[in-house]
Symmetry: C2
Subunit: 348 residues, 2 copies
């Protein structure tokens, strides 16, 4: 059965009211909306239909109705109109920063602050290439390798060495490293390349090994999955999770970046919607312990087609309207930073 207009209106009112109050919504409450002009009895009949169709459910016999996952889904897809442009306060809290890492951390923080939910942001899946590499002699026994990745992700690595090098040696290494590595993507840096470098340099085989080890370590670190989170403690504010042990599990899960990556990886780039905002409601989340949560994700795009994900984790009874519009604005702002202003990812 298709939902007729009236059923849609009623369903929308039920869900909107429930989102506000968190209490099961009764027929009387709905019948009070003036523009409807229906008695509670009529609403009851409609509600019975909506329940049969699986959009709402009674937590117990003599209670009002609350939305099911299916109900939320219908609401998000068909009923929820988005906030008027005027209503949405532009955040503009993002400062310009040069380093992608800092920018994304900031995004997570601002978003958590604005929404009062837990937020997570992944770095874009762009092909990370070495922009610049610098080996310096800190003291007789120590080198410092600094690797700047495209997007100004910076990795430092202390390399203890046995052999004493003079400045000229270090300079030579720098030229060697930059010749080979500049512009190379991180995946390119393999044994083969290292061997080629070794061949070219000839001498210093032991120390070269130490240096390469350091650089490989740094590169691996740079290649690690980067997820920035913020507002984890907001999870404690979701009363529907209730049980402290459940909350605790959820919180721990939220701190486990490995787990979070699973949460987000399926989301990136499924559709080609405008900013690809997606909502995962309750059981739609494949990760365990998240049945009582919803996750809203958005995709931001970098000039070369690389994409990253921004996610908001909240209770099912989440202010979808606000979250979606906030995310939309944020991704617009981000795209702006990445593309027009030629900021973070400036190739120079």
């Amino acid at each position: 059965m298709e939902l007729d207009e009236r059923k849609k209106t009623i369903l929308k009112l039920i869900i909107a009211t429930y989102l506000e109050t968190g209490e099961p919504v009764g027929s009387r409450t709905i019948s009070k909306f003036n523009d409807l002009n229906l008695s509670s009895a009529t609403i009851r009949n409609e509600m019975a239909d909506l329940e049969e169709l699986g959009y709402i459910v009674q937590p117990h016999t003599s209670a009002g109705r609350i939305p099911t996952d299916k109900g939320y889904r219908f609401y998000v897809d068909n009923l929820m109109e988005e906030k008027e442009e005027a209503e949405v306060e532009k955040s503009t809290l993002l400062e310009r920063v040069d380093r992608m890492e800092l920018l994304l951390k900031q995004v997570a923080k601002v978003l958590a602050y604005n929404t009062n939910y837990a937020t997570l942001v992944t770095a874009p899946n762009y092909r990370k290439t070495v922009k610049f590499i610098q080996l310096s002699k800190v003291d007789e026994a120590t080198l410092l390798a600094v690797i700047v990745i495209e997007g100004n992700l910076i990795k430092n690595q202390i390399i203890p060495i046995d052999t004493i090098l003079d400045n000229e040696d270090v300079l030579k290494f720098n030229i060697l490293l930059n010749t080979f590595l500049q512009g190379a993507s991180l995946e390119d840096i393999n044994l083969e390349m290292i061997n080629a470098m070794k061949k070219q340099s000839g001498e210093y085989s032991v120390i070269l090994d130490q240096i390469f080890q350091g650089i490989v370590d740094a590169v691996n670190e740079a290649n690690e999955l980067e997820i920035y989170t913020s507002g984890a403690t907001n999870i404690l504010k979701y009363p529907e999770i209730g049980d402290i042990s459940k909350t605790s599990e959820l919180l721990e899960k939220f701190e486990d970046k490995e787990e979070l990556s699973h949460l987000l990886e399926e989301t990136t780039g499924n559709k080609d919607d405008f900013h690809d905002i997606q909502v995962y409601i309750g059981e739609e989340n494949t990760v365990s312990n998240m049945e009582d949560c919803s996750i809203v994700t958005a995709t931001y795009k970098m000039p070369e087609g690389a994409k990253g994900t921004i996610g908001i984790l909240g209770p099912k009874r989440m202010d979808y309207k606000k979250v979606v519009s906030t995310l939309k604005n944020l991704t617009i702002e981000l795209d702006d930073i990445f593309n027009k202003r030629k900021g973070v990812n400036d190739d120079g």
Copy 2:
């Protein structure tokens, strides 16, 4: 009234039992300890005395006794004998790391893992001096400043510039910067010094300003209070906090580094005990919302007399024995790393 031996024994048994079970301890329970050979009635009399003296209290009329803050204090100061060396499993989980920052993060983590409490570690209050500074040209419009502080704390700063510099210019700046800044403590880097450098360099006044700005930013960042925390979610496991809103407040407080610094700052270097282990019980904590917590702190020392603090935050009903001995071992290990092995703070 002084506590006689028997009262001490009974108090110790009461507290030890309570630490284990978390339930109020009754006279019958204590009378069952063989080596005591006293009836419950006698214990009751003694308990009445101990209560009058303020060491224990009844949560309600017909319940057993639980320790007061004063009781805990007496236990920690006089009754608790520390764990036998044999019982304590050496952690040895600390890997050698070159960078102070990473080491301290690891300390916090290992400690949280071992104790199941929330932990916090402050960086030592040593006079931070610049060990090495390196300016590099990343691309035409961007410089990268890398500053290595004593202890191998590394700060990176991206400096956007307007003027185009050739490599020789950069080299000149590097020499200039290192000449002035190497060995300088962070406090030394003030306007006066910067002006001196400017005078020496003569030209490029605009770009020098940009560079100095970047370096000052990085230095300020390095000078910021550094506190590393771990195991915050363990707070959720303290049942005595109970209320989720209280727990939540505590958790938020724990994530606020500013607040934490207050918590620890009074502790450093009060006494000159062996590793200066201190216990703050309940109301003894001046920070609000922490009345139901205890904090155990220890001091580690660096060769030049700099000190840092390691703290463990747990419920009042905390395993003081274990925590104190764990902290003792850890500080010994840390002192070992800092002093003997000449690791992290190696002056080269």
